[in-house]
């Protein structure tokens, strides 16, 4: 998952408006870089094929 710079910029602008975040222009490049890393790593999460019945672990117990 490797969204384009334009796609990420659009996502950042829309989410910032929805969430009420005020981003200084000079912050946008590093926010975009961080979000790009997250999407690349999310692709590794998506990659794993799990059955519909797989249970999540939101409250984890070891």
């Amino acid at each position: 998952m490797d969204p384009s710079q334009d796609t990420l910029d659009a996502l950042i602008a829309a989410n910032a408006a929805l969430l009420g975040l005020v981003l200084a222009p000079e912050w946008r490049a590093t926010v975009r870089q961080s979000l790009a890393v997250s999407f690349r790593l999310a692709a590794l999460v998506e990659d794993i094929d799990l059955p519909d019945e797989a249970e999540p672990a939101p409250v984890f117990e070891a």
Binding site: E55, A57, P58, V59, F60
Partner: protein, 473 residues
């Protein structure tokens, strides 16, 4: 005091201090005064300590000495100075958690559970320690308080986010410090500073009275210069605590009496595949030294470790963003910029990824527990490299230049993701030490500590002393 006894006090183990205080050969007040003097002298260089609890510490030490004179039995940590990452509540201090924002919050009304437990056994809190802002950090750098500096090379990172904890212990300020570890924040500074660190099983130690980062991944634990001190402090902190909803209801399972029991019959293996890719020469050499010393020939593959690490990253990014959303809205300019921009990005990750990451977490846990049917301990590098230079922004891993901040934890994240207990053991490779993770099955801290103790006894694992000038006490 002679230079020999001065050296003894600076580098004395917690166990030796407590034994000396218990027998009356050491005064707790003198021991604590020595720690305070070292902090005053060395902290301008190391920048490990952000608040000193001088009055409280001296009062506590005097009370311990008075108890001794009155024939009361001393606790197993009698007179042992310790310090805590500044996300722990300390009564009367504001819990800053490495931030500027929290400085406006009222002081804590009580100590965190783990501080109270250490002090109940005779420990003496001497201060709060520098850390990466809100623990979202592997470097030990901090825009507000300045970087923690590595005692072995002042131009290098301590690692984080428990950077002050690493620097204070490696630098000889205190024998024991407490830190937190969400994705590696005890094990990374233990590695870069060349000391021992224990990240217990998720839920083993109470987190009550500490500022959270990612609740479903947050652990607390000790850092020390020897395995016995890790076990001593860990034992003092164990036990249920209703104030932390994920703290286990298991009773304490003491370890200190059994660390020298040896490892006959313990099945050991080295982690292959993912845990060999990206590691620099020194980290691979450290693993090799441990494997050779223990006679480990077996290799195991932790299935889908890269995917597990990715899931830990996604859960961390989103839970942390949710925790701080209001502060990001109100005062974004007051954050450390390196932290703020990651938190902002975290608010924008689709929830579908998070739900999938939580499913992957359970799948991965099942797969790893299956591995532990055939092995008792897995050996893996703690960090991909030794201490980077302060200010360094990127790192080359497996031929690819990547951002440093999130990637120092590539080998720790897949382990804490499912709450496994780990002892980080420092290996004195050149030119700077680096640690190896000794990983056990859930609730088997005892086995990891026994393996670490064997490595220490063989001289393979050691916390090297830095070349700093210590006060003449």
């Amino acid at each position: 005091m002679s230079s020999a006894s001065q050296g003894l006090q600076t580098w004395a183990t917690a166990g030796a201090i407590a034994a000396g205080v218990a027998s009356g050969t050491h005064s707790a007040e003198r021991v604590v005064a020595g720690a305070l003097e070292r902090i005053a002298t060395l902290n301008p260089t190391l920048n490990a300590v952000t608040a000193v609890t001088r009055d409280r510490a001296l009062a506590k030490a005097r009370a311990i000495d008075a108890d001794g004179r009155n024939g009361r039995v001393a606790g197993p940590l009698a007179g042992v100075p310790f310090a805590v990452k500044n996300l722990f509540d300390v009564a009367g201090l504001t819990t800053v958690a490495g931030s500027r924002i929290n400085r406006n919050y009222p002081p804590a009304s009580a100590d965190a559970t783990l501080i109270a437990r250490l002090e109940a056994q005779g420990g003496v809190l001497v201060g709060a320690l520098n850390m990466g802002e809100y623990a979202y950090d592997f470097t030990g750098e901090n825009a507000h308080d300045g970087a923690s500096r590595n005692p072995h090379d002042l131009d290098r990172m301590t690692g984080g986010s428990s950077g002050g904890s690493g620097g204070a212990v490696a630098g000889g300020l205190v024998p024991i410090a407490l830190g937190s570890d969400t994705n590696g924040s005890i094990r990374v500074p233990a590695s870069l500073c060349g000391i021992f660190g224990l990240k217990p099983t998720y839920g083993r130690l109470s987190r009550a009275g500490t500022f959270p980062f990612v609740s479903s991944l947050d652990h607390l634990g000790p850092l020390a210069r020897c395995v016995a001190d890790l076990a001593l402090s860990y034992d003092a902190m164990q036990g249920p605590d209703p104030a932390d909803p994920v703290c286990t209801t298991r009773q304490a399972e003491p370890t200190a009496h059994a660390i020298a029991r040896g490892i006959e019959g313990v099945r050991l293996a080295v982690a292959g595949d993912y845990f060999r890719r990206g590691a620099h020469r020194e980290s691979l050499e450290a693993v090799e030294r441990v494997a050779r010393a223990l006679g480990v020939t077996r290799e195991v593959v932790l299935p889908k470790a890269a995917n597990a690490r990715a899931a830990a990253y996604i859960i961390t990014a989103t839970e942390a963003a949710a925790l701080h959303l209001d502060r990001i809205r109100r005062v974004p300019g007051d954050f450390d910029p390196d932290v703020r921009d990651r938190l902002i990005a975290g608010t924008m990750i689709p929830a579908t990824f998070v739900a999938k990451a939580q499913k992957l977490r359970r799948w991965y846990r099942t797969a790893i527990l299956e591995l532990f049917r055939d092995v008792d301990v897995i050996i893996a590098p703690a960090t991909p490299c030794s201490a980077p230079t302060l200010g360094q922004k990127t790192i080359v891993l497996d031929g690819e230049e990547l951002p440093l901040r999130p990637n120092l934890g590539i080998f720790t994240q897949p382990i804490s993701f499912i709450g496994l207990p780990v002892v980080a053991v420092p290996i004195p490779v050149e030119p700077l030490p680096v640690a190896v993770q000794v990983i056990a099955a859930p609730w088997r801290e005892d086995i990891a500590l026994r393996v670490a103790y064997v490595l220490e006894s063989m001289g393979v694992a050691v916390a090297p002393r830095p070349n700093l000038s210590y006060p003449d006490l």
